[in-house]
């Protein structure tokens, strides 16, 4: 099953996928443009992976890490499907990153790879935008690059784990204004999902609602104000976001 959280008619509602649109819990059927899409889970701790695809590490001139490069994001960083993300004035390089998101379903501590999938509730898609102008070599990638307000689109759906036969073999891609700019497969992750759950749960407790953004393959290009950016993963979802500048955000001019 695919579920979503949306705002409609003055309330936050739970919805399921229905013929390409969605169906609210009370039975109303709506088109995807009739609702405001919220992040599909109320996220707890938000983990993200850097350099988790060998080709991407090479693209950034880094050797692949020998342990997962994990960083955290604040809750204000998330924004739902069909949302907007701000490109600050004057920056030279803002890029998307299409990522498979793992949603933790039960409390996990000292989990082994063999049992790791038992702790997964489902999957969704994220676009882990970065603004490279702000990169600094202190707790890199630093928050000014990766934890900006509403700069991590996520959704549209939470897809039940039971409906995803092999999360480690999913084609993914990014389209900017309809043109494919990034293509890859989750099979090329350096540290796969079971390894990440084993790694994190070895030293900390994971809880239901914690999410892990698993990293992105190569194929980064810059995005600009007005661009429509779609990050999609086969069987999981197609997540749309629009880049805005300050004039749109402030509704002036």
């Amino acid at each position: 099953m695919k579920t979503a959280r949306v705002a409609y008619a003055g309330a936050i509602q739970h919805a399921t996928e229905h013929n390409g649109g969605l169906r609210l819990a009370d039975g109303r059927v709506l088109g995807e443009d009739a609702v405001v899409w919220l992040p599909p889970v109320e996220a707890g701790t938000i983990f993200a992976l850097g350099l988790n695809y060998a080709d991407h590490a090479k693209e950034l001139a880094f050797k692949a890490p020998d342990e997962p490069l994990v960083f955290l994001k604040g809750p204000q960083s998330l924004v739902g499907h069909r949302g907007e993300t701000r490109r600050p004035p004057g920056v030279t390089y803002m890029h998307y990153e299409c990522e498979l998101v793992v949603v933790i379903g039960k409390t996990a501590r000292h989990v082994t790879k063999k049992n790791a999938y038992d702790y997964v509730a489902g999957y969704t898609v994220a676009n882990d935008y970065a603004i490279r102008d702000y990169l600094e070599n202190y707790y890199r990638p630093n928050f000014r690059v990766k934890s900006r307000d509403q700069a991590t689109p996520i959704g549209p759906w939470l897809v039940d784990a039971a409906d995803v036969a092999d999360p480690m073999n999913l084609p993914l891609r990014t389209l900017v204004n309809g043109r494919v700019t990034q293509e890859g497969s989750t099979r090329d992750m350096i540290f796969d999902i079971p390894t990440l759950i084993e790694y994190l749960s070895a030293f900390m407790t994971l809880s239901p609602g914690d999410i892990i953004l698993t990293g992105t393959p190569e194929g980064l290009t810059g995005v600009h104000v007005g661009d429509e950016v779609v990050t999609e993963i086969d069987g999981i979802g197609s997540l749309k976001n629009t880049i805005i500048g300050d004039s749109e955000e402030l509704h002036v001019g």
């Binding site: 604040g74 809750p75 600094e136 707790y139 900006r148 307000d149 900390m204 994971l206």
Partner: protein
């Protein structure tokens, strides 16, 4: 209800001074421009009176008694515990994000405390003044707010005192500041 807890590394001047010219060399290449943030995820949140568990892979823990700015409410005492680490290059998730590593006082004072004091087994080991911050409280909030909106329920830790003491299993650690009761915890073997 707590929403998010952020810490700021290298926000005491003596920490930057101690790193000296290293700030200009690899891997840092230049001194930090923006506040060096980290997050204290929910598994780290702990309360006064509960145990701080020493992980099997650590010999001692750093006890950074600090002031937490509770957005919209005031100030709380915090013990920001970590496994000591020298490098600031990559996010210190393994060193900081252990269960129970962030003890947050339950009482809030509206008056800005001048200093924070950390005691180990009753002995005063660290006295940190807000006069020694790289970014004073107002500036810190303003600089972070440029890219990340702090909201009610968020707590921002002002920095780790440069001479924060180490503690081992069996030690009792107390963090105090004016205006609220102290927070006190015992370090135990995990």
């Amino acid at each position: 209800m707590i929403n998010a807890v952020y810490g700021v590394a290298l926000n005491f001047r003596a920490e930057l001074e101690a790193l000296g010219d290293q700030l200009n060399r690899d891997p840092y290449k230049k001194p930090p421009v923006a506040p060096v943030l980290y997050l204290r995820p929910r598994n780290t949140w702990n309360v006064s009176g509960a145990a701080i568990r020493m992980p099997a892979d650590a010999n001692a823990l750093k006890m950074a008694g600090t002031i937490g700015i509770m957005v919209g409410r005031g100030y709380v005492a915090v013990n920001d515990v970590s496994i000591p680490h020298a490098s600031y290059y990559r996010p210190a998730i393994r060193q900081r994000c252990r269960d129970g590593f962030c003890v947050i006082g339950s009482e809030v004072t509206e008056r800005v405390p001048d200093e924070i004091r950390t005691f180990v087994n009753g002995e005063l080991r660290c006295r940190a003044s807000i006069a020694d911050l790289v970014r004073p409280i107002g500036r810190l909030i303003a600089d972070i707010g440029g890219f990340l909106t702090l909201q009610p329920g968020d707590i921002l830790l002002i920095g780790e005192p440069p001479d924060a003491p180490l503690a081992k299993a069996g030690d009792r650690v107390r963090v105090e500041m004016d205006g609220v009761p102290p927070i006190e915890n015992e370090v135990v073997v995990e």
